[in-house]
Amino acid sequence: MNTQARGVGRTIWVATRAMALLTLALGVGYTLLITGIGQLALPAQANGSIVTNQDGDPVGSALIGQSFTDEDGNPLPEYFQPRPSAAGDGYDGGASSGSNYGPENEDLIAAITERKAQVAEFNGVTEDEVPVDAVTASSSGLDPHISPEYAAIQIDRIADARGIPAEQLRELVAAHTQGPDAGYLGESRVNVLELNIAVDELEG
């Protein structure tokens, strides 16, 4: 019994030292090594792919979607609108989240019905022309992209609001449409923030 107890005590002492050593190596050493590499070799990515406006001020991250609404939360007609978001009050970078609504959830069904009507009316299209990404919340609530189809139905509305030719916007959307990675991975998409910065630059 005594040797047994000594064995257990010794094992715990070995375990404690092993865990302390591994915490130093893997928790501190490894984290600092990767941070050093990131900050020295890949500073733009490591610090969040921050994008700037025409004045050079940071306005967000190329990877994180943001809202284009007025103070009351109404969508601004002169900007391309992103997908619905379940992160906080919408695109809250401190509270990433999906809606987690199940496929039969009444609240989700009501929300999709309402979004469909709103998007159709806002853009002057029929409900059948509203693409799926326009009425569904993303997984992160921070999805920076929309489908090229959703961008397309917003062009006329933005052209009207800004008084610029729709053709010019169409070219801009085409230039900002990114195909699947390597030609076959993922979906075609348009980065909403980068596109809206480009739209602002059109007007100088």
Binding site: M19, L42, G48, T69, G98, L142
Partner: protein
């Protein structure tokens, strides 16, 4: 067109894993069989007080696993409870006792179930000094236990099954760490962040303000996947653009999750001295993986259900850059490997689609399973398969030259019983005990009706299988669910390990019996088929009734 893309994505993954299978599998076999220690390892053994040349009995090996994990549990619990005094804590207070226990159990048990929203709960120090460290070592523990079992098959008349401390240190230093460093750099190239900036506020294009999160993400992200852990730095996990910025990083993450579990069959074949045995195990894993991916992709692409049909597709809870295919590929991988990371919200999947991640877990995590745990789980099933075929042809069952006698089959059977017992008992208690039932129904469940029952079933399936993914609408941060799930995670991790190591000990002690004409060959297509069927039957029979109450009822009604 969907299927062309699905096939191309699958082919990409298969080709890369196929190229790595032999070199990585052989390398890992060398890591665990080499007689030579590295210089830095000799230093470590000196500091921790271990003689690397002495092997342990299965009891001593088990004692070391348990002691090491218990210390880990205490450290992760302590770090959280002391959070307000730690540096880089972003001003966050200590999480509650029951949440800290749940998180500690979850990360030590290679589960990474998260009852909390990381952005709002844990600062950087808890993340990198507590959680990321466990991501490494809990993975290394899993591989160590698997290697001990493989040694049981390879050794003859041996009282020992290896040295846990050597297996732990070598697995960490020689396998996980080098791949993690390379992987972290690749992820950063793709846009994953790595800084200590905290939350920064920017003025957006419209003049509003937005919070941009920071943190040492890449270093933790890579080991979260490589060690099949799954705990996200952010609440949205691998759907957060700072964790998984683009479609190619998504495939890279899938590869990180699969590379070790799919190469371990080679390591196994190598150590037992017959590579064909490794290919047989690999085949079973691959068949089930491809089947599961195909079914899930078909179900999500079809998009059945009121909300998806109204919206025009099952894109609720999915990211535009991944689309449906990138989401189903990730979900199949994550729940088939015991990782539990998500790049889409499983709670919002179609009813039958949401059942597939659950089924992947209910198979006992063998498609291809977690690092180490996948291969030991499927070897247990192989023992059962050999036993069943032995009964059918009336011969003493043998596997790899070892007799499967009463003791071996009892240990295998006990192993198999643990997981379903925990899943079903945990789910049943949540709905049967007065007081708890009301708490679960009123506080925890997010989606009303049948789907809510699926949320609870998913949670206990995830915990018992050390997966960690969730139907994330469930509010698990309650005293009952934190405690119950934490206990289920610990039992679901360590009770099977007891049986695996006991089996390793009993196999190692045997001599090898010579192969005769009556020996069932375990590398032929017939055995591959048999093992596949046994794997499915063991699951389907156990879980069919409860699935009929949840996803089947919702999807077929």
């Amino acid at each position: 067109m969907t299927w062309v893309y699905a096939l191309l994505a699958l082919a990409t993954v298969a080709i890369i894993l196929g190229v790595l299978y032999r070199p990585l599998g052989d390398y890992m076999a060398w890591v665990y069989t080499s007689r030579k220690d590295w210089k830095v390892e000799r230093g470590i053994y000196k500091v921790i007080g271990v003689d690397s040349k002495t092997e342990q009995t299965w009891q001593a090996y088990l004692r070391s696993v348990l002691a090491f994990s218990a210390i880990g549990l205490l450290i992760v619990y302590g770090l959280q409870r002391l959070q307000q005094w730690l540096p880089y804590s972003l001003g966050l207070p200590a999480p509650s006792e029951h949440l800290s226990f749940n998180t500690a159990a979850s990360f030590v048990g290679n589960t990474n179930w998260q009852s909390y929203s990381p952005e709002l709960t844990v600062g950087y120090t808890v993340q990198f000094a507590g959680l990321a460290v466990q991501n490494f070592v809990s993975g290394a523990v899993g591989i160590a236990v698997a290697i001990a079992l493989v040694r049981g098959f390879a050794y003859r008349r041996s009282g020992t099954i290896g040295n846990f401390w050597v297996d732990l240190i070598r697995g960490t230093l020689r396998i996980l760490l080098p791949i993690a460093v390379i992987g972290a750099i690749v992820l950063m190239i793709g846009g994953v962040i790595q800084n200590f900036n905290g939350f920064t506020t920017v003025t957006t294009l419209t003049g509003a303000t937005q919070t941009i999160p920071g943190g040492p993400v890449a270093s933790q992200e890579v080991i979260k996947l490589l060690g099949t852990n799954g705990g996200g730095f952010f609440n949205a996990n691998s759907s957060h653009p700072f964790e998984n910025p683009t479609a190619w990083t998504n495939v890279f993450q899938v590869l990180l999750m699969l590379v070790i579990p799919f190469s371990l069959p080679r390591t196994f074949g190598r150590i037992v001295g017959d590579n064909r045995q490794g290919y047989a195990i690999l085949s079973v894993m691959a068949i089930l993986y491809v089947a599961s991916f195909s079914i899930l992709t078909a179900l999500e692409s079809a998009g059945m259900g009121t909300a998806p049909e109204l919206a025009g597709g099952a894109m609720e809870g999915k990211e535009q850059r991944f689309g449906i295919l990138g989401s189903t590929l990730f979900a199949t991988t994550s729940t088939g490997t015991s990782t539990g990371a998500v790049n889409s919200m499983h709670d919002s999947y179609t009813a039958l689609g949401g059942m597939m991640p659950m089924l992947n877990m209910m198979l006992g995590e063998v498609t291809p399973g977690g690092v180490g745990s996948g291969i030991y789980a499927i070897l247990i099933l192989a023992v059962i398969a050999v036993f069943i075929s032995g009964l059918l042809i009336g011969r003493t069952p043998e596997y790899l030259g070892k007799k499967i006698g009463p003791r071996e089959i009892k240990l295998a059977a006990l192993y198999i019983l643990v997981m379903p017992t925990l899943v079903l008992a945990g789910t049943a208690m949540s709905f049967a005990i007065p007081g708890i039932r009301e708490d679960v129904e009123n506080t925890s469940i997010w989606n009303p009706g049948i789907h809510g029952m699926s949320e609870v079933l998913y949670a206990f399936t995830s915990a018992a299988n050390n997966n960690g993914s969730a139907f994330a609408g469930l509010t698990a941060n309650t005293p009952w669910l934190n405690t119950a799930l934490g206990v289920v995670i610990l039992l679901g991790r360590f009770v099977p390990i007891v049986f695996v190591l006991a089996l390793a000990g009993s196999l190692a002690a045997q001599d090898k019996v010579p192969t005769t004409s009556g020996t069932l060959p375990t590398h032929r297509p017939m055995f591959i088929g048999l093992l596949t069927v046994v794997t499915i039957l063991v699951t389907a029979l156990t879980f069919f009734p409860v699935l009929a109450l949840g996803p089947l009822a919702e999807g077929l009604m």
